[in-house]
Amino acid sequence: MTSLETYIELIGQALRLEPEAFRAAETLPGLALSIVLLAGVSVALGQAVVLFVNRVKPERFIASLLVSAIHYAFGFGFWTLSIWLLGRFLHGDDIFLGNVARAVGLGYAPQLFSFLIFMPYFGIPIYVLLTLWSLLAIVTGVSVSMNLLTWYALLLSGLGWFVLQVSKRTIGRPLIGLARWSRRRVAGVELRDLRELERQVKSQKLELPTPASTELTQTSNGENRAK
């Protein structure tokens, strides 16, 4: 079996939440990061509406997607680090960061389908489904890599996420600022969220012809029509 076939097989098993996949992933160092980066691109595609409504030019579109994928990978990294640190704090030194990272990374496999979020109407339920599916996969991975019961792995993953959110709002603010700056730099515009844009769109009036550009013409049947 080639590497690619092995990777695809493992991704399939991870999607089915089979623990063997996460054990096998511990021996494949490149797999987790590849999945996370591809998932990041897929998530960025699924949420590309943000780039469109902010009027990002076509030539900057691809670069903006790639930057989003890189930020996504950093998010994975920090979450994994939070889980690992909590795990070491609670259980001691025999938990290896690499194993945790590979297992959590494989847990991102459902996010490979995140481009489907772009679909109208079905996109939001798909987003919810993929988020839950990914959470289950990550919990399975944490359970396998740290040899924990499932509920405990869920708790640890949740605590790790909470620590990440607190960090983002405190010691991580410079990094968040850097991420925003890089996104703005690459996109060429300030990226506002959809709610803010909706308010702006609804506050704008529709285009009307200006008086200077309007002249009356007579049609063949004598109607006066604005041209």
Binding site: V49, V53, V56, F115, Y121, G123, L197, K202, S213, R225
Partner: protein
């Protein structure tokens, strides 16, 4: 097993095709918003479109003696350009029944650039073929792709992420159409939007943008309309939901869109219901489309009116009588 494989393969191909089509659906409106199409809509506001057919009688001054404007937004079978015969019959009958109301029916509700499916598109040739099949009654599944494509635009309109840009663009198309047909901004004539089937959702979606610009009273008449709990409900005066007892399609709106469910207490739809904005009017034993539909001039009610006449009569009552005095009922 072997005999079922081609069917499974066919279903898989169809499924993938549907997913791809849905992924592409938001791109027209998003591309317009992002400026990929230039100033197409602004320019069209200043010059009439060559393929539009105004429904006004020739020789009638479209502005000075009119009391209201009515814009018809056709259902998801619309290809653009010319109206189907039954739709044109509705518009012509309405024009005759309410001569002091300007009746317009040449907007393409499923294109933010007001472009017919059969023109100026990469797949125009396919849509022209599908339109021919529809008219000839051949290959119904393939001709139904027109409906599916337009249905996806209805979903774009109803999606909270895409709706604002899509609905603003369609509102611009409608405003351009009004101005082309002599709408005078300073006269502030009231506006009624008739949304047939999927056009019902489009009608709701454009209301806030038209209301904000024109500052006039806007009502929506849904003719078997499939509608979401759209924020447009907060900007209009009334929704008149005209339904036939044999029309099952309009119920899709109340099933598909969670905001229409009564348990979603504070949705725009349920708020509008509590405010008395939504009036449901039974028209009689009418189907959604085709034979025995709202537009059928050859099927008759017990009182001798054709289904088309009944539909026109109810719309005329809604448009011409003050809303607070309505005693409108179908049979």
């Amino acid at each position: 097993m072997l005999s079922s494989m081609p069917l499974l393969t066919a279903l898989a191909v169809i499924g993938v095709g549907i997913v791809i089509a849905m992924l592409l659906a938001p791109l027209e409106s998003l591309g317009w918003w992002a400026g990929w199409y230039g100033d197409y809509l602004k320019e069209s506001a200043l010059s009439p479109q060559p393929n539009n057919q105004a429904t006004q009688c020739e020789g009638v001054n479209t502005a000075s003696d009119k009391t209201a404007y009515l814009v018809f937004l056709d259902g998801i079978a619309k290809v653009g350009g010319n109206n189907d015969d039954d739709v044109q019959a509705l518009l012509d009958t309405l024009s005759q029944a309410i001569p002091d109301v300007v009746v317009l029916g040449d907007v393409m509700p499923y294109s933010v650039t007001n472009t017919a499916l059969t023109e100026a598109r990469p797949l125009a040739r396919f849509w022209r073929r599908a339109d021919q099949w529809k008219i000839q009654g051949h290959y119904p599944l393939l001709s139904f792709t027109i409906n599916i494509r337009n249905l996806f635009q209805v979903l774009v309109s109803a999606d909270k992420r895409y709706g604002p840009t899509y609905n603003q663009a369609e509102a611009q198309v409608i405003l351009n159409n009004l101005l082309e047909h002599g709408y005078q901004l300073d006269k502030r004539l009231p506006l009624t939007l008739i949304g047939y089937s999927g056009g019902g959702q489009i009608a709701l979606g454009v209301v806030p943008y038209l209301q904000h610009t024109l500052g006039v009273t806007i009502d929506v008449i849904s003719l078997g309309g499939v509608m979401s709990s759209d924020s447009g409900l907060s900007a209009l005066r009334y929704v008149y939901h005209l339904v036939g007892s044999k029309d099952q399609v309009h119920k899709l709106g109340s099933l598909m869109f969670p905001g229409r469910w009564s348990i979603v207490f504070n949705s725009y739809w349920n708020q509008a219901k509590r405010q008395g904005k939504i009036h449901t009017i039974a028209l009689g034993p009418m189907r959604h489309t085709g034979t025995a539909s709202y537009l059928d001039a050859a099927k008759y009610l017990d009182d001798g009116q054709s289904f088309l006449e009944q539909t026109v009569s109810v719309i005329k009552t809604i448009v011409t009588q003050p809303a607070t005095n309505h005693r409108v009922s179908g049979k």
